[in-house]
C-alpha cells in the first residue's frame, strides 16, 4: 500500500539559552498523506516526535485555552485552529513578537499578565450579598458578549506596536478588553475607580487605533471597540 505523500516545509525559530548564543531558523520537512489536511498544531506535534528538542506550549488543541499563540508566517495566531493548507510554504513559525523568548516558541508572558492584573480583573461589588443570584437582565448581560470570551493568548497585545514600545505602561488590547468587561458589567460597583485608574496618558490613550489586535484575535473579539467605549466613558465622566 503506497499512499501518495506530500512534503510540507517549515522554518522554525530556535533558541535554547543553554546552547545557542542567539536565535536561528531551523528547517524541517514533514511528510503527510497528499489528500490530508490538519491543524498546524498537529503538524508541529509530529515535528516534535522527530526532534524532541523543539519546545512550544499547547493544551486544549481546540482554540479555547490560549496556549499555542505564535507568529505564523508573520501573523499572530493559534496553531491549533490554523489549517495547514491555509499557509504558504515554507511555513515560518516564530514566537509572539515583543516578549522575551525563554526558549524556541515559548515567550515570557510576565509583562502581559502584569497588565492584565493591573486592571483589577475581578468583579467588585460592595453592596450586601443577596441570598440568591444578583439579577441581571438579558440586555445587561449581552453587553459582556464579545468581552468575557477572551482566552488570554496574547496574540493581540503582541501584535500591537504600542504594546511593543510600552509593555510596562500601556495596558494593551487584552487587558483593556477585560477592563471594559468589568466596566460594562451591571453588577460591578467600582466603575468610577476603574475609570479613574485609566485616565493617564499611557494606560488607555497609548492606543493609536492601529487595529492589529482586531485583525489577529483568534476569537474574533474587538479590543479597539472596547477601548473606544472606555474612552467614551472617560469623556462622559469628565476626567
Amino acid at each position: 500500500m503506497s499512499e501518495a505523500m506530500q512534503s510540507v516545509k517549515f522554518k522554525i525559530y530556535r533558541f535554547n539559552p543553554e546552547v545557542d548564543a542567539k536565535p536561528y531558523m531551523q528547517e524541517y520537512e514533514l511528510n503527510i498523506p497528499a489528500n490530508q489536511d490538519m491543524m498546524l498544531l498537529e503538524a508541529i506535534l509530529r515535528i516534535k516526535a522527530m526532534d524532541d528538542s523543539l519546545a512550544f506550549r499547547r493544551s486544549c488543541r481546540e482554540g479555547v485555552c490560549g496556549s499555542d499563540g505564535m507568529n505564523i508566517n508573520g501573523r499572530n495566531g493559534l496553531a491549533c485552529v490554523t489549517l495547514l493548507s491555509s499557509l504558504k510554504q515554507p511555513i515560518e513559525l516564530r514566537p509572539l513578537p515583543g516578549l522575551p523568548v525563554i526558549r524556541d516558541l515559548i515567550v515570557d508572558m510576565t509583562a502581559f499578565f502584569k497588565q492584565y492584573e493591573k486592571i483589577k480583573p475581578y468583579l467588585i461589588n460592595n453592596e450586601p450579598l443577596p441570598t440568591k443570584e444578583r439579577l441581571q437582565s438579558p440586555a445587561e448581560r449581552k453587553k459582556l458578549d464579545g468581552l468575557y470570551e477572551c482566552i488570554l493568548c496574547a496574540c493581540c497585545s503582541t501584535s500591537c506596536p504600542s504594546f511593543w514600545w510600552n509593555p510596562d505602561k500601556f495596558v494593551g488590547p487584552a487587558g483593556l478588553l477585560q477592563a471594559y468587561r468589568f466596566i460594562a458589567d451591571s453588577r460591578d460597583t467600582a466603575t468610577a475607580e476603574r475609570l479613574e485608574a485609566l485616565t493617564d496618558p499611557f494606560s488607555v490613550f497609548r492606543c493609536r487605533g492601529v487595529m492589529n489586535c482586531v485583525e489577529v484575535c483568534p476569537k474574533g473579539l474587538n479590543p479597539t471597540r472596547a477601548i473606544g467605549h472606555i474612552r467614551s466613558e472617560l469623556l462622559a465622566e469628565g476626567n
Binding site: 516526535a49 528538542s53 492584573e117 443570584e133 470570551e149
Partner: protein
C-alpha cells in the same frame, strides 16, 4: 542531596476548577497556599467545559435538589456514594450563587435570573418529566468559570506556581503520610521540595490514555500516577465516559447542551434513532446510553462515512440562526473550524469520544483521601485530599451526568479547602529525610540519565491505540486480556525509553516523558479494573457480561498499584437526611 525547600500551609496540585476553588477557600482565610500548576491556570482543561453546571435553582420550573440527587444516583447506575451525591446536590445552589457573586457571566432569563437548560438524564419529581437544571454561560460555561475563579484568586493574591510540574509525593520520615511534594520549575528545569501540612490533588483527568479524546493534551493523569506510586488505591478506574458528540476525526467536544436546546442525532437515513433506544428521554438519555446506541447504529451500518470515518450527525439547523448564535456560539465556531460545517445550515458529524474519568483517588465527602485495608475498611489519610476529576468521591459512579462535573469541581474543591482551613492548626508539618527525597527523585534520575532508548512518542502512540481498540465503548474479556498484555509489554519498554534533549530550560520533552509514566499507570489500572468487573454497568459495557449484576457488583472496585491487586469497596447507601435510593432497572 540538598534541594531548595519551600514551606506552606497547603499545597494544591492543579489549577483547574477544583484546585482554584480550593485555593480560594484557603486564600480567603489568609493561609499560605501554593497553587502548583503545570500550565498557566486558565489553560487548564476546565476551560473546555461547555454546556453548564447543574443544580436545582428552580429558575425555569419548580425544582428540588432531591430530584437532582435522584437523577445523579440513577445516572451513576447506583454505584455513586449517596452521602456525597446528597451533599453535592444540596449545597449546589449555594455554590453556584457564590460563583455568580464572584462575577461569573451566566446567561440570563428575562426575569434576570440565571439561565438553565435541559441536559441528559434530568427529571422532575424523581423520574418524571424532563427537567431544565443546567446553569449556563452560553456554551462557554467552563471558560467563564475557570476565568472567574482565576480572577478571584488574583484578588485574593494566591501564590500561583504557574508552569511548575509536580513530580511526586514525598513520604514523611515517620512513615505516616506525606510531608510534601517534589516539583520541577519548568522554566529553569530545577527541582524543589515543597513542604506543607496539607496537600490537595486537583490534577484532573487522563483522557489522553485514549487515541480519540475530547481531553486536552495536558490530561495525563498525573495525580493518578503519583497516587499509585505513593501506594494509594485507585477506585472505579474502569469507568470511562464516552461522550456521544465528539466531532468526527477531530475529537473536539460538542456540548450535550446542543441536544438540550433541541438538537438531535440522525443516522444516514435521516432517522432520529434515539427514539428507538430511549423512547422517553430520546436524545437526552444518559451519555452512556446514547454513546452505546450510536455505536450500535454504526455497527449496523447506519452511519455516514466521511473520508473513511464512520459517524452519525447532530442536527441543529432546525433551531434557527438566532438560537445558535446566542446559546451555542462556541459550538458553531468549533464546528466550522474542525468539521468545516456551519451548524446553522448542516448537521455536525459526531462520534462517541473518550471524555471523562469517573474513577480516581477515593475520597470521602470532605475530599479527604481514603485508603482501603485488606479487610475492606476505609482509613482516612489526614492531610491528603483529592478533588475534581482525579478524585473518585464518588458522585458519578459508573456514569457521570452532563453538568455534574463543573458542580463536582466547585463543591468538592470548596469542601476540601474549607476542611483544610479548619484542620490546619492540628495538622503537623512532617519531617522529610534524604532517603524519602531520593526515593521520589529516582524516576526523574532514571529519565535524566537515559541517553539511548525508544522514544516517548512511539510508546505513547501504541498505548493510546491499545486503549482505543480494547477498552472502548464495548468491551470483552478476551480483547481486554490481549490489551492488558500489550500494555504490560509497553510498560517494560517504557522502563528503557529515553528522550534525546537533556537541556534544562523549558524542556517539554522531559515533562512529556514524566507524563507518560502517569498515563501508563492510569492505562494499566483501567485495564486491570475493567477485566475485574464482570458485569455491565454505566459506562462499562461488557459483551461477555451484558447484564448488570447487583448481587456481585453493586460495589466500587479498588486497584492497588504495587501488586496490580483488585479489591472491592462498599458503595455508600446512607445519605444523611433521607432514605437511600434503591437500585432499579435503569431506563430512559
Amino acid at each position: 542531596m540538598t534541594l531548595a525547600t519551600y514551606t506552606f500551609d497547603a499545597i494544591i496540585i492543579g489549577a483547574g476548577g477544583a484546585g482554584m476553588r480550593a485555593a480560594l477557600a484557603l486564600a480567603e482565610s489568609g493561609s499560605q497556599v501554593a497553587l502548583v500548576s503545570k500550565v498557566f491556570p486558565t489553560r487548564s482543561h476546565t476551560v473546555s467545559a461547555q454546556g453548564g453546571i447543574t443544580c436545582a435553582l428552580g429558575n425555569v420550573h419548580p425544582d428540588d435538589w432531591r430530584w437532582h440527587m435522584y437523577d445523579t444516583v440513577k445516572g451513576s447506575d447506583y454505584i455513586g456514594d449517596q452521602d456525597c451525591i446528597e451533599y453535592m446536590c444540596e449545597v449546589g445552589p449555594q455554590v453556584v450563587y457564590e460563583l455568580e457573586h464572584m462575577g461569573l457571566p451566566f446567561s440570563r432569563l428575562d426575569n434576570g435570573r440565571i439561565y438553565q437548560r435541559p441536559f441528559g438524564g434530568q427529571s422532575k419529581d424523581f423520574g418524571g418529566e424532563q427537567a431544565a437544571r443546567t446553569c449556563a454561560a452560553a456554551d462557554r460555561t467552563g471558560h467563564a468559570l475557570l476565568h472567574t475563579l482565576y480572577q478571584r484568586n488574583i484578588a485574593e493574591k494566591t501564590n500561583v506556581f504557574s508552569e511548575w510540574y509536580a513530580l511526586d509525593l514525598v513520604k514523611a520520615t515517620d512513615g505516616q503520610g506525606f510531608a510534601g511534594i517534589l516539583a520541577i520549575h519548568i522554566e529553569t528545569g530545577e527541582t524543589v521540595l515543597m513542604r506543607a501540612r496539607a496537600i490537595i490533588f486537583a490534577t484532573g483527568g487522563a483522557g489522553r490514555i485514549y487515541q480519540s479524546t475530547t481531553n486536552a493534551l495536558i490530561n495525563t493523569g498525573d495525580g493518578i500516577g503519583m497516587a499509585i506510586r505513593a501506594g494509594l488505591p485507585i477506585q472505579d478506574i474502569e469507568m470511562w465516559q464516552f461522550h456521544p458528540t465528539g466531532i468526527a476525526g477531530a475529537g473536539v467536544l460538542v456540548t450535550e447542551g446542543c441536544r438540550g436546546e433541541g438538537g438531535y442525532l440522525i443516522n444516514k437515513d435521516g432517522e432520529r434513532f434515539m427514539e428507538r433506544y430511549a423512547p422517553h428521554a430520546k436524545d437526552l438519555a444518559s451519555r452512556d446510553v446514547v454513546a452505546r446506541a450510536m455505536s450500535l447504529e454504526l455497527r449496523a451500518g447506519n452511519g455516514y462515512d466521511i473520508n473513511g470515518v464512520k459517524c452519525v450527525k447532530l442536527k441543529l439547523d432546525h433551531l434557527g440562526a438566532d438560537l445558535i448564535n446566542s446559546r451555542l456560539p462556541g459550538i458553531r465556531e468549533l464546528s466550522i473550524t474542525f468539521a468545516g460545517v456551519d451548524p446553522i445550515r448542516e448537521p455536525i458529524p459526531v462520534v462517541p469520544t473518550c471524555h471523562y474519568m469517573m474513577g480516581g483517588i477515593p475520597t470521602n465527602r470532605l475530599g479527604q483521601v481514603v485508603t482501603v485495608d485488606y479487610k475492606g475498611n476505609d482509613q482516612v489519610l489526614e492531610g491528603l485530599y483529592a478533588v475534581g476529576e482525579c478524585a473518585c468521591v464518588s458522585v458519578h459512579g459508573a456514569n457521570r451526568l452532563g453538568g455534574n462535573s463543573l458542580l463536582d469541581l466547585v463543591v468538592f474543591g470548596r469542601a476540601a479547602g474549607l476542611d483544610v482551613k479548619e484542620k490546619l492548626h492540628e495538622l503537623p508539618l512532617k519531617d522529610v529525610g534524604d532517603a524519602e527525597i531520593e526515593a521520589a527523585l529516582s524516576r526523574l534520575n532514571r529519565w535524566d540519565n537515559a541517553r539511548e532508548g525508544e522514544s516517548v512518542s512511539q510508546i505513547r502512540f501504541e498505548m493510546q491505540k491499545t486503549m482505543q481498540e480494547d477498552f472502548g465503548v464495548f468491551r470483552t474479556g478476551e480483547h481486554m486480556q490481549e490489551g492488558l498484555d500489550k500494555l504490560l509489554q509497553l510498560q517494560q519498554r517504557l522502563h528503557h525509553a529515553a528522550f534525546q534533549d537533556h537541556s534544562r530550560v523549558f524542556n517539554t520533552s522531559r515533562i512529556e516523558a514524566l507524563e507518560l509514566d502517569n498515563l501508563m499507570a492510569t492505562a494499566l489500572a483501567t485495564a486491570h479494573a475493567a477485566i475485574y468487573r464482570t458485569e455491565s454497568r454505566g459506562a462499562h459495557s461488557r459483551e461477555d457480561f451484558p447484564k448488570r449484576d447487583d448481587a456481585n457488583w453493586l460495589t466500587h472496585t479498588v486497584y492497588h498499584g504495587e501488586s496490580h491487586r483488585m479489591s472491592k469497596r462498599a458503595v455508600n447507601m446512607k445519605p444523611l437526611h433521607m432514605k437511600p435510593f434503591e437500585p432499579k432497572e435503569r431506563v430512559y
